[in-house]
């Protein structure tokens, strides 16, 4: 009987401690942000949402910020361009990362741990410093700058509207997308690799026996089977990119609008906390669907391992 009771208390502690912690420091703060986004800013304090006036409870919600966001062109454009840059980055990461993970997973079993570690290693070294490194590479005299101008790739980039003029690479949509692709590429490669490495290769043999070419077998078998990895990788890239702040700040320049930066400025430069909160709430609304897909996938992946 005693051991039974100690099991129950053990269970309560194991679940309860992290649960309560997350409710207090993850969920509750977000509810407070939602509250502040509809509060009026007084000189120091926020007005209480509910006040007792003449014996009547009064609820003062102020949706002015939300109205402002939907009416103001700049916010709308910023949200749109954040989604656009995040989507472009995701597609690029998939384009580079899928073949990369595929060839990793099909490499000799003895070299795979080393290949995997080489992908993880940059991920362990400072993200901030690796983003900073691109500042040097893309400015005049930098290696990437010299390479791109020498090969005349900058003419193509300028024609595509990614840089304003040939020879100007830093502080452009190009440098922003390059920096985000670089930073988030390992997040795409790792789930894809673990998915592709598990694949049953006999399926491909069967397809070949039945007359499929390697190319057809790849598109009809390998790609559909790796769907879960593609989804996980894409969400791991797309969602944080939408709200990215450090990369646009260091590489983006003033013309590339990103919502994370706008929120930062509302908060730190304008000190407008309700506005910053409103921007944050709308940002969460933008990513809520990808977020749900991600957390469903993550839960399924963990349960399915057994």
């Amino acid at each position: 009987m005693k051991s039974l009771r100690s099991w129950f208390t053990g269970r309560a502690a194991v679940i309860g401690v992290p649960y309560v912690w997350l409710l207090l420091f993850f969920l509750l703060p977000f509810l407070i942000v939602m509250k502040i986004s509809v509060s009026e800013m007084e000189t120091v304090n926020f007005k209480d949402l509910i006040t007792l006036k003449d014996g009547v409870l009064q609820l003062a919600l102020r949706f002015g910020n939300y109205v402002f966001i939907t009416e103001d062109d700049l916010y709308f454009k910023t949200y749109l361009s954040s989604l656009k840059y995040a989507a472009v980055t995701t597609v690029l990461c998939l384009f580079i990362g899928y073949p990369f993970a595929y060839f990793m997973a099909r490499a000799k079993a003895t070299v795979q741990p080393a290949l995997l570690m080489l992908v993880m290693l940059p991920f362990w070294t400072s993200f901030l410093l690796r983003v900073y490194a691109w500042k040097g590479l893309l400015s005049e005299h930098g290696w990437a700058y010299d390479f791109i101008t020498a090969t005349r790739l900058d003419l193509a980039l300028a024609a595509g509207g990614l840089i304003p003029a040939p020879g100007q690479l830093m502080n452009t949509p190009f440098s922003l997308v390059l920096g985000m692709t670089y930073t988030y590429l390992p997040f795409m490669i790792l789930p894809l690799y673990s998915n592709l490495a598990k694949m049953d290769l006999r399926l491909l043999e069967a397809a070949t026996d039945l007359g499929a070419t390697a190319w057809v077998a790849f598109w009809k078998i390998t790609v559909p089977l790796s769907k879960a990895g593609i989804i996980a990788g894409s969400m791991l890239v797309f969602i944080p990119c939408v709200g990215e702040f450090v990369i646009p700040e260091l590489l983006g320049g003033p013309q590339t609008l990103m919502i994370g930066r706008v929120m930062w400025d509302e908060f730190f430069s304008n000190n407008d906390w309700p506005m910053a909160s409103t921007v944050a709430v709308v940002m969460v609304l933008l990513i809520i669907v990808p977020l749900a897909i991600f957390s469903k996938y993550q839960a399924e992946a963990q349960e399915a391992r057994k």
Partner: protein, 275 residues
């Protein structure tokens, strides 16, 4: 084109892309030139300057302290959360729980930072504490570190053979003893990886620290970020080189140790099976 050759070429170009910036950072930290990315000859003067750079050194010490506390607490909380998710398949609000554990992995940090700060400000207005500083930065880092630690530990727990724990329980071990004597040794490596991962995450974080730091609590990434914003700065390259050096040594040493332990355990298992 031959697919094998194409594969090798793609991998090589990919690794080049991943490592080029790091190579540039290291190389140009030895550059004796006022233009930080124009090579003019070898020097160690940026490292000498770093030794007397009080702002950076103070920030480094603070970051180290926060990273250490974050890593320890993240591993504890992450292990608890991973246990809850792996061992208990049904309890009230499990979906919400797993959602809250996973969300910080992808949630833009500006949102997490802003919401935590606004809550702390409300609490401070009501109770008079906490002051913003090391404590509040740790709170933010813990939220992020806990999520990563949970994923790492959960993956390992899922791979464990539950029969080992059941056997210990049948032999009369208490749940606590089962954990200490059976489970813990088997997940020790995952705990070590989780510790190292959360340590480096905390040591590197800019956004959460910027929201949650107070006057006098400027971490190293905040110092680096404020200099990097203004332009290229050789002192940043010197710091980067030192970090790359320490991390590479640490990761290589840890993985060698893990490989050695795994061999040792495999040998012991084979030995036990023979007897």
């Amino acid at each position: 084109m031959n697919p094998r050759l194409f594969g090798k070429a793609w991998l090589s170009l990919g690794y080049l892309f991943l490592y080029l910036p790091i190579a540039a950072l290291v190389l140009y930290s030895f550059n004796d030139s006022p233009v930080p990315n124009l090579w003019r000859g070898f020097t160690l003067k940026w490292y000498e300057k770093l030794a007397s750079d009080t702002e950076m050194l103070v920030g480094f010490w603070l970051s180290l302290k926060i990273a250490f506390i974050t890593a320890c607490t993240s591993v504890i909380m992450g292990t608890l959360a991973a246990f809850a998710l792996v061992k208990y398949k049904r309890f009230t609000g499990r979906t919400l729980f797993s959602g809250m554990v996973n969300a910080p992995l992808v949630m833009p940090e500006v949102i997490v930072g802003l919401s935590l700060l606004l809550m702390l400000v409300s609490v401070q207005r009501a109770l008079g504490f906490p002051e913003r500083g090391m404590m509040t930065i740790w709170l933010g880092h813990l939220l992020l570190g806990m999520a990563y630690a949970t994923v790492v530990v959960q993956a390992r727990l899922n791979d464990l053979n539950p029969q080992l724990e059941e056997a210990a329980m049948d032999l009369g071990a208490r749940p606590w003893q089962v954990f200490m004597l059976v489970t813990l040794p088997m997940i020790a490596q995952a705990l070590l990886s989780a510790w190292l991962l959360t340590f480096t995450l905390s040591l590197d974080d800019v956004v959460l620290s910027a929201f949650l730091s107070g006057p006098g609590a400027t971490t190293m990434p905040l110092v680096i970020f404020s200099r990097a914003r203004l332009g290229l700065n050789p002192s940043v390259n010197a710091v980067a080189t030192l970090i790359v050096l320490v991390v590479s040594i640490g990761v290589v040493a840890a993985s060698l140790m893990i490989a050695r332990n795994e061999r040792k355990r495999a040998l012991e298992m084979a030995e036990a099976a023979r007897n």
